[in-house]
Subunit: 277 residues, 2 copies
Amino acid sequence: MIDTLYGELSDGAIGVFDSGVGGLTCVKELIRLMPQEDIVYLGDTARVPYGTRSRDTIVRYAKQDIAFMEKHKVKLLLVACGTVSSVISSGNIFEGTGINCYSGVIIPACDAACEATRNKKIGVIATPATIRSGRYEFEIKRQCPDISVYSNPCPLLVPLAENGYTERGCAPAEFFVKEYLTPLKEQGIDTLIMGCTHYPLFEEVISDFMGEGVKLISSSGVTAEMTFEALKAQHALKPETHKGKVELYCTDSVQLFKENVSRFLGEAECEIAQCKL
Amino acid sequence: MIDTLYGELSDGAIGVFDSGVGGLTCVKELIRLMPQEDIVYLGDTARVPYGTRSRDTIVRYAKQDIAFMEKHKVKLLLVACGTVSSVISSGNIFEGTGINCYSGVIIPACDAACEATRNKKIGVIATPATIRSGRYEFEIKRQCPDISVYSNPCPLLVPLAENGYTERGCAPAEFFVKEYLTPLKEQGIDTLIMGCTHYPLFEEVISDFMGEGVKLISSSGVTAEMTFEALKAQHALKPETHKGKVELYCTDSVQLFKENVSRFLGEAECEIAQCKL
Protein backbone atom coordinates (compact mmCIF):
# COMPACT_ATOMS: atom_id res chain seq x y z
CA MET A 1 0.00 0.00 0.00
CA ILE A 2 1.45 3.35 -1.05
CA ASP A 3 0.86 5.56 1.90
CA THR A 4 3.64 7.62 3.34
CA LEU A 5 4.51 11.26 2.98
CA TYR A 6 8.03 11.99 4.11
CA GLY A 7 11.47 12.91 2.85
CA GLU A 8 13.04 16.23 2.05
CA LEU A 9 10.96 18.34 -0.28
CA SER A 10 12.53 19.97 -3.29
CA ASP A 11 11.08 22.96 -5.09
CA GLY A 12 9.26 21.06 -7.83
CA ALA A 13 5.59 20.63 -8.59
CA ILE A 14 3.13 18.34 -6.87
CA GLY A 15 2.79 15.26 -9.07
CA VAL A 16 -0.57 13.50 -9.30
CA PHE A 17 -1.45 10.50 -11.40
CA ASP A 18 -4.48 8.37 -12.07
CA SER A 19 -5.63 5.83 -14.63
CA GLY A 20 -7.80 8.46 -16.27
CA VAL A 21 -9.64 11.60 -15.27
CA GLY A 22 -10.81 10.57 -11.78
CA GLY A 23 -7.70 11.93 -10.09
CA LEU A 24 -8.70 15.40 -11.25
CA THR A 25 -11.11 15.47 -8.29
CA CYS A 26 -7.95 15.47 -6.18
CA VAL A 27 -6.32 18.18 -8.33
CA LYS A 28 -9.44 20.33 -7.97
CA GLU A 29 -9.13 20.12 -4.19
CA LEU A 30 -5.37 20.81 -4.30
CA ILE A 31 -5.97 23.96 -6.35
CA ARG A 32 -8.66 25.11 -3.94
CA LEU A 33 -6.38 24.63 -0.93
CA MET A 34 -3.04 25.70 -2.49
CA PRO A 35 -3.51 27.88 -5.59
CA GLN A 36 0.17 28.80 -5.36
CA GLU A 37 1.42 25.26 -6.03
CA ASP A 38 2.51 23.96 -9.43
CA ILE A 39 0.83 20.67 -10.34
CA VAL A 40 1.76 18.03 -12.90
CA TYR A 41 -1.07 15.57 -13.57
CA LEU A 42 -0.95 12.37 -15.60
CA GLY A 43 -4.07 10.50 -16.68
CA ASP A 44 -3.36 7.22 -18.50
CA THR A 45 -6.40 7.65 -20.73
CA ALA A 46 -5.08 5.24 -23.39
CA ARG A 47 -5.45 2.39 -20.87
CA VAL A 48 -8.16 3.53 -18.45
CA PRO A 49 -9.75 1.85 -16.47
CA TYR A 50 -7.22 0.13 -14.22
CA GLY A 51 -9.71 -1.07 -11.62
CA THR A 52 -11.10 -3.98 -13.61
CA ARG A 53 -7.64 -5.38 -14.49
CA SER A 54 -5.34 -7.83 -12.73
CA ARG A 55 -2.68 -6.92 -10.17
CA ASP A 56 0.22 -7.72 -12.53
CA THR A 57 -1.12 -5.47 -15.25
CA ILE A 58 -1.77 -2.64 -12.80
CA VAL A 59 1.79 -2.90 -11.43
CA ARG A 60 3.22 -2.70 -14.95
CA TYR A 61 1.17 0.37 -15.80
CA ALA A 62 1.91 2.09 -12.47
CA LYS A 63 5.67 1.72 -12.92
CA GLN A 64 5.44 3.58 -16.20
CA ASP A 65 3.31 6.31 -14.59
CA ILE A 66 5.88 6.75 -11.83
CA ALA A 67 8.77 6.90 -14.31
CA PHE A 68 6.96 9.75 -16.05
CA MET A 69 6.63 11.66 -12.77
CA GLU A 70 10.29 11.07 -11.98
CA LYS A 71 11.26 12.78 -15.22
CA HIS A 72 9.22 15.80 -14.13
CA LYS A 73 11.15 16.00 -10.84
CA VAL A 74 8.04 16.41 -8.72
CA LYS A 75 8.59 17.31 -5.08
CA LEU A 76 5.99 14.84 -3.94
CA LEU A 77 3.79 12.35 -5.71
CA LEU A 78 0.14 11.64 -5.02
CA VAL A 79 -1.12 8.35 -6.39
CA ALA A 80 -4.67 9.64 -6.90
CA CYS A 81 -5.84 6.25 -8.11
CA GLY A 82 -7.49 4.06 -5.52
CA THR A 83 -6.63 0.98 -7.54
CA VAL A 84 -2.89 1.64 -7.77
CA SER A 85 -2.80 2.85 -4.15
CA SER A 86 -4.34 -0.38 -2.96
CA VAL A 87 -2.73 -3.12 -5.00
CA ILE A 88 0.88 -1.95 -4.90
CA SER A 89 3.43 -2.15 -2.14
CA SER A 90 5.23 1.17 -1.94
CA GLY A 91 8.51 -0.49 -1.01
CA ASN A 92 8.64 -2.37 -4.28
CA ILE A 93 7.32 0.25 -6.62
CA PHE A 94 9.28 3.30 -5.48
CA GLU A 95 12.61 1.58 -4.87
CA GLY A 96 15.32 3.19 -6.96
CA THR A 97 12.96 5.73 -8.53
CA GLY A 98 14.31 8.86 -6.89
CA ILE A 99 10.83 9.72 -5.65
CA ASN A 100 10.89 9.47 -1.89
CA CYS A 101 7.92 11.57 -0.92
CA TYR A 102 4.60 10.12 -1.91
CA SER A 103 1.14 9.14 -0.79
CA GLY A 104 -1.69 7.00 -2.00
CA VAL A 105 -5.31 7.64 -1.07
CA ILE A 106 -5.87 4.68 1.27
CA ILE A 107 -4.41 5.84 4.59
CA PRO A 108 -5.78 9.41 4.40
CA ALA A 109 -9.26 7.98 3.73
CA CYS A 110 -8.99 5.37 6.48
CA ASP A 111 -7.73 7.96 8.98
CA ALA A 112 -10.70 10.20 8.22
CA ALA A 113 -13.19 7.33 8.36
CA CYS A 114 -11.91 5.96 11.67
CA GLU A 115 -12.18 9.44 13.13
CA ALA A 116 -15.69 9.96 11.76
CA THR A 117 -17.44 6.74 12.69
CA ARG A 118 -19.54 6.65 15.85
CA ASN A 119 -21.13 3.20 15.58
CA LYS A 120 -17.90 1.55 14.36
CA LYS A 121 -19.39 0.42 11.07
CA ILE A 122 -17.57 1.71 8.00
CA GLY A 123 -18.54 0.99 4.40
CA VAL A 124 -16.11 1.04 1.46
CA ILE A 125 -16.95 1.29 -2.23
CA ALA A 126 -14.20 1.09 -4.83
CA THR A 127 -13.14 -0.65 -8.04
CA PRO A 128 -13.06 -4.47 -8.20
CA ALA A 129 -9.23 -4.52 -8.01
CA THR A 130 -9.22 -2.28 -4.93
CA ILE A 131 -11.84 -4.35 -3.13
CA ARG A 132 -10.03 -7.60 -4.04
CA SER A 133 -6.85 -6.18 -2.50
CA GLY A 134 -8.59 -5.83 0.89
CA ARG A 135 -6.38 -2.81 1.68
CA TYR A 136 -9.01 -0.48 3.04
CA GLU A 137 -10.24 -3.15 5.42
CA PHE A 138 -6.66 -4.05 6.40
CA GLU A 139 -5.73 -0.47 7.20
CA ILE A 140 -8.92 0.29 9.15
CA LYS A 141 -8.53 -2.91 11.19
CA ARG A 142 -4.87 -2.10 11.82
CA GLN A 143 -5.89 1.25 13.28
CA CYS A 144 -9.07 0.16 15.06
CA PRO A 145 -9.54 -3.62 15.31
CA ASP A 146 -13.05 -3.24 16.74
CA ILE A 147 -14.45 -1.49 13.66
CA SER A 148 -16.48 -3.58 11.22
CA VAL A 149 -15.83 -2.93 7.53
CA TYR A 150 -18.34 -3.68 4.75
CA SER A 151 -17.05 -3.47 1.18
CA ASN A 152 -18.57 -3.64 -2.28
CA PRO A 153 -16.94 -3.32 -5.73
CA CYS A 154 -18.63 -0.91 -8.17
CA PRO A 155 -17.34 -1.72 -11.69
CA LEU A 156 -19.83 0.49 -13.54
CA LEU A 157 -19.33 3.77 -11.66
CA VAL A 158 -16.10 4.68 -13.51
CA PRO A 159 -17.57 4.37 -17.03
CA LEU A 160 -20.72 6.19 -15.87
CA ALA A 161 -18.60 9.05 -14.48
CA GLU A 162 -16.40 9.23 -17.58
CA ASN A 163 -19.55 9.62 -19.69
CA GLY A 164 -21.32 12.16 -17.52
CA TYR A 165 -24.03 10.03 -15.88
CA THR A 166 -23.52 11.18 -12.32
CA GLU A 167 -26.18 13.70 -11.42
CA ARG A 168 -29.16 13.56 -9.08
CA GLY A 169 -32.15 12.42 -11.15
CA CYS A 170 -30.00 10.42 -13.59
CA ALA A 171 -31.63 6.97 -13.67
CA PRO A 172 -28.56 4.77 -14.23
CA ALA A 173 -26.55 6.66 -11.60
CA GLU A 174 -29.39 6.11 -9.13
CA PHE A 175 -29.79 2.46 -10.20
CA PHE A 176 -26.13 1.58 -9.68
CA VAL A 177 -25.77 3.56 -6.47
CA LYS A 178 -28.75 1.59 -5.12
CA GLU A 179 -27.39 -1.68 -6.56
CA TYR A 180 -23.95 -1.26 -5.01
CA LEU A 181 -24.87 0.47 -1.74
CA THR A 182 -27.94 -1.46 -0.61
CA PRO A 183 -25.86 -4.20 1.10
CA LEU A 184 -23.86 -1.55 2.99
CA LYS A 185 -26.94 0.41 3.97
CA GLU A 186 -28.52 -2.76 5.31
CA GLN A 187 -25.51 -3.22 7.60
CA GLY A 188 -26.22 0.17 9.18
CA ILE A 189 -22.87 1.84 8.39
CA ASP A 190 -22.54 5.46 9.55
CA THR A 191 -19.44 6.27 7.45
CA LEU A 192 -18.76 5.53 3.80
CA ILE A 193 -15.40 5.74 2.07
CA MET A 194 -15.72 6.66 -1.61
CA GLY A 195 -12.54 4.75 -2.36
CA CYS A 196 -12.12 5.64 -6.02
CA THR A 197 -11.31 9.16 -7.14
CA HIS A 198 -14.15 9.12 -9.66
CA TYR A 199 -16.82 8.69 -7.02
CA PRO A 200 -17.05 12.23 -5.60
CA LEU A 201 -18.99 13.03 -8.79
CA PHE A 202 -21.78 10.81 -7.43
CA GLU A 203 -21.76 12.51 -4.03
CA GLU A 204 -25.30 13.89 -4.27
CA VAL A 205 -26.83 10.64 -5.47
CA ILE A 206 -24.95 8.63 -2.85
CA SER A 207 -25.87 11.08 -0.12
CA ASP A 208 -29.56 11.00 -1.09
CA PHE A 209 -29.56 7.20 -1.03
CA MET A 210 -27.61 6.71 2.19
CA GLY A 211 -29.38 9.49 4.11
CA GLU A 212 -28.09 12.30 6.30
CA GLY A 213 -26.85 10.02 9.06
CA VAL A 214 -24.03 8.65 6.91
CA LYS A 215 -20.79 10.63 6.63
CA LEU A 216 -19.18 10.43 3.18
CA ILE A 217 -15.38 10.39 2.95
CA SER A 218 -13.85 11.32 -0.41
CA SER A 219 -10.49 9.59 -0.77
CA SER A 220 -9.25 12.28 -3.13
CA GLY A 221 -10.54 15.13 -0.96
CA VAL A 222 -8.94 13.94 2.27
CA THR A 223 -5.66 13.14 0.47
CA ALA A 224 -5.51 16.71 -0.84
CA GLU A 225 -6.19 18.03 2.68
CA MET A 226 -3.53 15.78 4.19
CA THR A 227 -1.04 17.00 1.59
CA PHE A 228 -1.85 20.62 2.39
CA GLU A 229 -1.35 20.04 6.12
CA ALA A 230 1.93 18.18 5.53
CA LEU A 231 3.36 20.89 3.28
CA LYS A 232 2.28 23.58 5.71
CA ALA A 233 3.86 21.76 8.64
CA GLN A 234 7.13 21.40 6.74
CA HIS A 235 7.04 25.04 5.56
CA ALA A 236 7.27 23.64 2.04
CA LEU A 237 4.40 25.59 0.48
CA LYS A 238 5.29 28.01 -2.26
CA PRO A 239 4.83 31.71 -1.37
CA GLU A 240 1.23 32.84 -1.74
CA THR A 241 2.32 35.37 -4.33
CA HIS A 242 3.30 32.55 -6.69
CA LYS A 243 0.69 31.71 -9.30
CA GLY A 244 0.57 27.94 -9.54
CA LYS A 245 0.84 26.37 -12.98
CA VAL A 246 -1.29 23.31 -13.71
CA GLU A 247 -0.04 20.93 -16.42
CA LEU A 248 -2.23 18.00 -17.40
CA TYR A 249 -0.89 15.10 -19.45
CA CYS A 250 -2.90 12.30 -21.00
CA THR A 251 -1.80 9.23 -22.97
CA ASP A 252 -4.68 9.29 -25.46
CA SER A 253 -5.77 12.29 -27.52
CA VAL A 254 -5.95 15.73 -25.97
CA GLN A 255 -9.28 16.42 -27.60
CA LEU A 256 -11.01 13.43 -25.97
CA PHE A 257 -9.39 14.32 -22.64
CA LYS A 258 -10.53 17.93 -22.77
CA GLU A 259 -14.16 16.90 -22.98
CA ASN A 260 -13.82 15.40 -19.52
CA VAL A 261 -11.53 17.90 -17.86
CA SER A 262 -14.07 20.63 -17.24
CA ARG A 263 -16.55 18.15 -15.80
CA PHE A 264 -14.02 17.04 -13.20
CA LEU A 265 -11.91 20.14 -12.69
CA GLY A 266 -14.34 23.00 -13.14
CA GLU A 267 -12.96 26.22 -14.56
CA ALA A 268 -9.35 26.01 -13.35
CA GLU A 269 -6.73 27.31 -15.79
CA CYS A 270 -4.48 24.57 -17.13
CA GLU A 271 -2.31 23.38 -20.00
CA ILE A 272 -3.08 20.03 -21.60
CA ALA A 273 -0.69 17.87 -23.63
CA GLN A 274 -0.36 14.28 -24.78
CA CYS A 275 2.57 12.14 -23.59
CA LYS A 276 4.01 8.68 -24.17
CA LEU A 277 4.74 6.26 -21.35
CA MET B 1 -11.64 -0.04 -43.62
CA ILE B 2 -10.60 -3.67 -43.24
CA ASP B 3 -13.02 -5.56 -45.39
CA THR B 4 -11.77 -8.01 -47.93
CA LEU B 5 -11.54 -11.76 -47.85
CA TYR B 6 -9.29 -13.08 -50.55
CA GLY B 7 -5.91 -14.73 -51.12
CA GLU B 8 -4.80 -18.33 -51.03
CA LEU B 9 -5.84 -20.10 -47.87
CA SER B 10 -3.33 -22.15 -45.94
CA ASP B 11 -4.22 -24.92 -43.54
CA GLY B 12 -4.06 -22.86 -40.36
CA ALA B 13 -6.70 -21.77 -37.90
CA ILE B 14 -9.19 -18.95 -38.28
CA GLY B 15 -7.80 -16.00 -36.36
CA VAL B 16 -10.19 -13.63 -34.60
CA PHE B 17 -9.31 -10.62 -32.48
CA ASP B 18 -11.13 -7.99 -30.52
CA SER B 19 -10.35 -5.40 -27.86
CA GLY B 20 -11.88 -7.66 -25.22
CA VAL B 21 -14.54 -10.32 -25.01
CA GLY B 22 -17.06 -8.90 -27.50
CA GLY B 23 -15.53 -10.76 -30.44
CA LEU B 24 -16.47 -14.02 -28.75
CA THR B 25 -20.00 -13.47 -30.13
CA CYS B 26 -18.35 -13.97 -33.52
CA VAL B 27 -16.44 -17.06 -32.33
CA LYS B 28 -19.67 -18.54 -31.00
CA GLU B 29 -21.24 -18.21 -34.41
CA LEU B 30 -18.14 -19.61 -36.17
CA ILE B 31 -18.24 -22.70 -33.93
CA ARG B 32 -21.93 -23.18 -34.62
CA LEU B 33 -21.39 -22.99 -38.39
CA MET B 34 -18.02 -24.75 -38.63
CA PRO B 35 -17.29 -26.94 -35.59
CA GLN B 36 -14.45 -28.55 -37.58
CA GLU B 37 -12.39 -25.34 -37.79
CA ASP B 38 -9.54 -24.45 -35.45
CA ILE B 39 -9.87 -20.98 -34.00
CA VAL B 40 -7.31 -18.70 -32.38
CA TYR B 41 -8.87 -15.77 -30.53
CA LEU B 42 -7.16 -12.78 -29.00
CA GLY B 43 -8.92 -10.40 -26.59
CA ASP B 44 -6.79 -7.41 -25.53
CA THR B 45 -8.33 -7.36 -22.07
CA ALA B 46 -5.43 -5.39 -20.55
CA ARG B 47 -6.44 -2.39 -22.69
CA VAL B 48 -10.15 -2.85 -23.40
CA PRO B 49 -12.16 -0.81 -24.41
CA TYR B 50 -10.79 0.52 -27.71
CA GLY B 51 -13.97 2.29 -28.78
CA THR B 52 -13.59 5.31 -26.52
CA ARG B 53 -9.97 5.96 -27.55
CA SER B 54 -8.42 8.02 -30.34
CA ARG B 55 -7.61 6.73 -33.82
CA ASP B 56 -3.83 6.85 -33.25
CA THR B 57 -4.05 4.76 -30.12
CA ILE B 58 -6.37 2.25 -31.79
CA VAL B 59 -3.97 1.88 -34.75
CA ARG B 60 -1.05 1.22 -32.40
CA TYR B 61 -2.97 -1.44 -30.48
CA ALA B 62 -4.32 -3.09 -33.66
CA LYS B 63 -0.84 -3.46 -35.15
CA GLN B 64 0.23 -5.42 -32.10
CA ASP B 65 -2.90 -7.60 -32.30
CA ILE B 66 -2.17 -8.39 -35.95
CA ALA B 67 1.48 -9.22 -35.21
CA PHE B 68 0.25 -11.76 -32.66
CA MET B 69 -2.01 -13.39 -35.24
CA GLU B 70 0.81 -13.46 -37.77
CA LYS B 71 2.91 -15.51 -35.35
CA HIS B 72 0.05 -18.01 -35.13
CA LYS B 73 0.03 -18.41 -38.93
CA VAL B 74 -3.75 -18.11 -39.21
CA LYS B 75 -5.26 -18.90 -42.60
CA LEU B 76 -7.54 -15.92 -42.42
CA LEU B 77 -8.06 -13.15 -39.91
CA LEU B 78 -11.33 -11.71 -38.74
CA VAL B 79 -11.09 -8.32 -37.10
CA ALA B 80 -14.08 -8.91 -34.84
CA CYS B 81 -13.83 -5.45 -33.39
CA GLY B 82 -16.10 -2.86 -34.93
CA THR B 83 -13.79 -0.10 -33.75
CA VAL B 84 -10.63 -1.47 -35.38
CA SER B 85 -12.58 -2.49 -38.49
CA SER B 86 -13.85 1.03 -38.94
CA VAL B 87 -10.95 3.29 -38.10
CA ILE B 88 -8.18 1.45 -39.92
CA SER B 89 -7.33 1.33 -43.58
CA SER B 90 -6.54 -2.28 -44.47
CA GLY B 91 -3.90 -1.25 -46.99
CA ASN B 92 -1.82 0.40 -44.31
CA ILE B 93 -2.28 -2.02 -41.50
CA PHE B 94 -1.76 -5.34 -43.31
CA GLU B 95 1.07 -4.24 -45.56
CA GLY B 96 4.08 -6.46 -45.00
CA THR B 97 2.38 -8.59 -42.36
CA GLY B 98 2.12 -11.83 -44.29
CA ILE B 99 -1.62 -11.93 -43.61
CA ASN B 100 -3.37 -11.51 -46.94
CA CYS B 101 -6.78 -12.93 -46.17
CA TYR B 102 -8.83 -10.93 -43.72
CA SER B 103 -12.13 -9.25 -43.04
CA GLY B 104 -13.50 -6.67 -40.70
CA VAL B 105 -17.15 -6.54 -39.68
CA ILE B 106 -18.22 -3.41 -41.57
CA ILE B 107 -18.85 -4.65 -45.11
CA PRO B 108 -20.60 -7.88 -44.10
CA ALA B 109 -22.94 -5.87 -41.85
CA CYS B 110 -23.58 -3.20 -44.50
CA ASP B 111 -24.24 -5.87 -47.16
CA ALA B 112 -26.81 -7.52 -44.92
CA ALA B 113 -28.44 -4.22 -43.96
CA CYS B 114 -28.72 -2.96 -47.53
CA GLU B 115 -30.36 -6.23 -48.48
CA ALA B 116 -32.75 -6.15 -45.52
CA THR B 117 -34.07 -2.60 -45.65
CA ARG B 118 -37.39 -1.94 -47.37
CA ASN B 119 -37.94 1.72 -46.52
CA LYS B 120 -34.28 2.65 -47.13
CA LYS B 121 -33.71 3.88 -43.59
CA ILE B 122 -30.89 2.11 -41.76
CA GLY B 123 -29.78 2.81 -38.19
CA VAL B 124 -26.28 2.14 -36.86
CA ILE B 125 -25.22 1.86 -33.23
CA ALA B 126 -21.56 1.41 -32.35
CA THR B 127 -18.74 2.74 -30.17
CA PRO B 128 -17.86 6.45 -30.27
CA ALA B 129 -14.71 5.77 -32.33
CA THR B 130 -16.64 3.73 -34.90
CA ILE B 131 -19.35 6.36 -35.27
CA ARG B 132 -16.74 9.14 -35.52
CA SER B 133 -15.08 7.22 -38.37
CA GLY B 134 -18.30 7.39 -40.43
CA ARG B 135 -17.39 4.04 -42.07
CA TYR B 136 -20.76 2.34 -41.82
CA GLU B 137 -22.46 5.32 -43.41
CA PHE B 138 -19.75 5.58 -46.08
CA GLU B 139 -20.04 1.91 -47.05
CA ILE B 140 -23.86 1.89 -47.13
CA LYS B 141 -23.92 5.06 -49.25
CA ARG B 142 -21.28 3.58 -51.56
CA GLN B 143 -23.52 0.57 -52.15
CA CYS B 144 -26.87 2.37 -52.19
CA PRO B 145 -26.68 6.17 -52.38
CA ASP B 146 -30.44 6.53 -51.85
CA ILE B 147 -30.43 4.94 -48.40
CA SER B 148 -30.55 7.24 -45.37
CA VAL B 149 -28.29 6.29 -42.46
CA TYR B 150 -28.90 7.36 -38.85
CA SER B 151 -26.07 6.71 -36.38
CA ASN B 152 -25.61 7.00 -32.64
CA PRO B 153 -22.60 6.18 -30.44
CA CYS B 154 -23.26 4.03 -27.35
CA PRO B 155 -20.28 4.39 -24.99
CA LEU B 156 -21.89 2.62 -22.04
CA LEU B 157 -23.02 -0.59 -23.74
CA VAL B 158 -19.56 -2.21 -23.69
CA PRO B 159 -19.00 -1.80 -19.93
CA LEU B 160 -22.58 -2.92 -19.27
CA ALA B 161 -22.03 -6.07 -21.38
CA GLU B 162 -18.67 -6.81 -19.77
CA ASN B 163 -20.37 -6.69 -16.37
CA GLY B 164 -23.43 -8.74 -17.22
CA TYR B 165 -26.13 -6.04 -17.42
CA THR B 166 -27.69 -7.08 -20.71
CA GLU B 167 -30.89 -9.00 -20.05
CA ARG B 168 -34.53 -8.15 -20.61
CA GLY B 169 -35.82 -6.57 -17.38
CA CYS B 170 -32.41 -5.16 -16.44
CA ALA B 171 -33.08 -1.47 -15.73
CA PRO B 172 -29.77 0.07 -16.88
CA ALA B 173 -29.74 -2.03 -20.07
CA GLU B 174 -33.27 -0.82 -20.82
CA PHE B 175 -32.37 2.76 -19.89
CA PHE B 176 -29.36 2.96 -22.19
CA VAL B 177 -31.04 1.13 -25.06
CA LYS B 178 -33.84 3.68 -24.86
CA GLU B 179 -31.35 6.56 -24.45
CA TYR B 180 -29.28 5.56 -27.47
CA LEU B 181 -32.01 4.22 -29.76
CA THR B 182 -34.80 6.77 -29.32
CA PRO B 183 -33.36 9.14 -31.99
CA LEU B 184 -33.11 6.24 -34.48
CA LYS B 185 -36.60 4.97 -33.70
CA GLU B 186 -37.97 8.46 -34.25
CA GLN B 187 -36.47 8.43 -37.74
CA GLY B 188 -38.51 5.35 -38.59
CA ILE B 189 -35.61 3.02 -39.47
CA ASP B 190 -36.60 -0.53 -40.45
CA THR B 191 -33.09 -2.03 -40.14
CA LEU B 192 -30.55 -1.62 -37.33
CA ILE B 193 -26.88 -2.58 -37.49
CA MET B 194 -25.51 -3.60 -34.11
CA GLY B 195 -22.08 -2.38 -35.13
CA CYS B 196 -20.08 -3.52 -32.11
CA THR B 197 -19.52 -7.17 -31.35
CA HIS B 198 -20.69 -6.73 -27.75
CA TYR B 199 -24.15 -5.65 -28.76
CA PRO B 200 -25.73 -9.00 -29.68
CA LEU B 201 -25.96 -9.58 -25.91
CA PHE B 202 -28.57 -6.79 -25.82
CA GLU B 203 -30.56 -8.28 -28.69
CA GLU B 204 -33.71 -8.98 -26.67
CA VAL B 205 -33.78 -5.56 -25.03
CA ILE B 206 -33.09 -3.82 -28.34
CA SER B 207 -35.70 -5.90 -30.13
CA ASP B 208 -38.33 -5.16 -27.46
CA PHE B 209 -37.64 -1.45 -27.71
CA MET B 210 -37.48 -1.18 -31.50
CA GLY B 211 -40.47 -3.45 -32.12
CA GLU B 212 -41.01 -6.34 -34.52
CA GLY B 213 -40.88 -4.21 -37.66
CA VAL B 214 -37.16 -3.51 -37.25
CA LYS B 215 -34.66 -6.08 -38.53
CA LEU B 216 -31.54 -6.39 -36.34
CA ILE B 217 -28.21 -7.08 -38.03
CA SER B 218 -25.43 -8.45 -35.81
CA SER B 219 -22.07 -7.42 -37.27
CA SER B 220 -20.37 -10.44 -35.68
CA GLY B 221 -23.08 -12.86 -36.78
CA VAL B 222 -23.10 -11.86 -40.44
CA THR B 223 -19.29 -11.77 -40.55
CA ALA B 224 -19.19 -15.38 -39.31
CA GLU B 225 -21.76 -16.35 -41.95
CA MET B 226 -19.83 -14.58 -44.69
CA THR B 227 -16.66 -16.39 -43.61
CA PHE B 228 -18.44 -19.74 -43.71
CA GLU B 229 -19.76 -19.09 -47.22
CA ALA B 230 -16.35 -17.92 -48.44
CA LEU B 231 -14.52 -20.97 -47.05
CA LYS B 232 -17.17 -23.28 -48.47
CA ALA B 233 -16.95 -21.65 -51.90
CA GLN B 234 -13.16 -22.01 -51.90
CA HIS B 235 -13.36 -25.63 -50.64
CA ALA B 236 -11.15 -24.48 -47.79
CA LEU B 237 -13.18 -25.92 -44.90
CA LYS B 238 -11.52 -28.61 -42.84
CA PRO B 239 -13.06 -32.09 -43.19
CA GLU B 240 -16.13 -32.52 -41.01
CA THR B 241 -14.43 -35.37 -39.17
CA HIS B 242 -11.89 -32.89 -37.77
CA LYS B 243 -12.65 -31.72 -34.27
CA GLY B 244 -11.91 -28.02 -34.19
CA LYS B 245 -9.66 -26.70 -31.42
CA VAL B 246 -10.51 -23.34 -29.88
CA GLU B 247 -7.65 -21.39 -28.28
CA LEU B 248 -8.44 -18.15 -26.51
CA TYR B 249 -5.74 -15.67 -25.53
CA CYS B 250 -6.14 -12.62 -23.35
CA THR B 251 -3.64 -9.91 -22.34
CA ASP B 252 -4.85 -9.55 -18.76
CA SER B 253 -5.32 -12.38 -16.26
CA VAL B 254 -6.90 -15.65 -17.35
CA GLN B 255 -9.06 -15.76 -14.25
CA LEU B 256 -10.75 -12.42 -14.95
CA PHE B 257 -11.20 -13.41 -18.60
CA LYS B 258 -12.80 -16.75 -17.73
CA GLU B 259 -15.57 -15.04 -15.79
CA ASN B 260 -16.72 -13.46 -19.04
CA VAL B 261 -16.08 -16.27 -21.50
CA SER B 262 -19.08 -18.41 -20.64
CA ARG B 263 -21.40 -15.41 -20.78
CA PHE B 264 -20.33 -14.71 -24.36
CA LEU B 265 -19.38 -18.12 -25.67
CA GLY B 266 -21.78 -20.46 -23.94
CA GLU B 267 -20.52 -23.96 -23.20
CA ALA B 268 -18.02 -24.40 -26.07
CA GLU B 269 -14.85 -26.32 -25.19
CA CYS B 270 -11.75 -24.13 -25.27
CA GLU B 271 -8.26 -23.54 -23.92
CA ILE B 272 -7.47 -20.19 -22.34
CA ALA B 273 -4.03 -18.63 -21.86
CA GLN B 274 -2.49 -15.24 -21.24
CA CYS B 275 -0.19 -13.66 -23.81
CA LYS B 276 1.96 -10.56 -24.21
CA LEU B 277 1.67 -8.20 -27.15
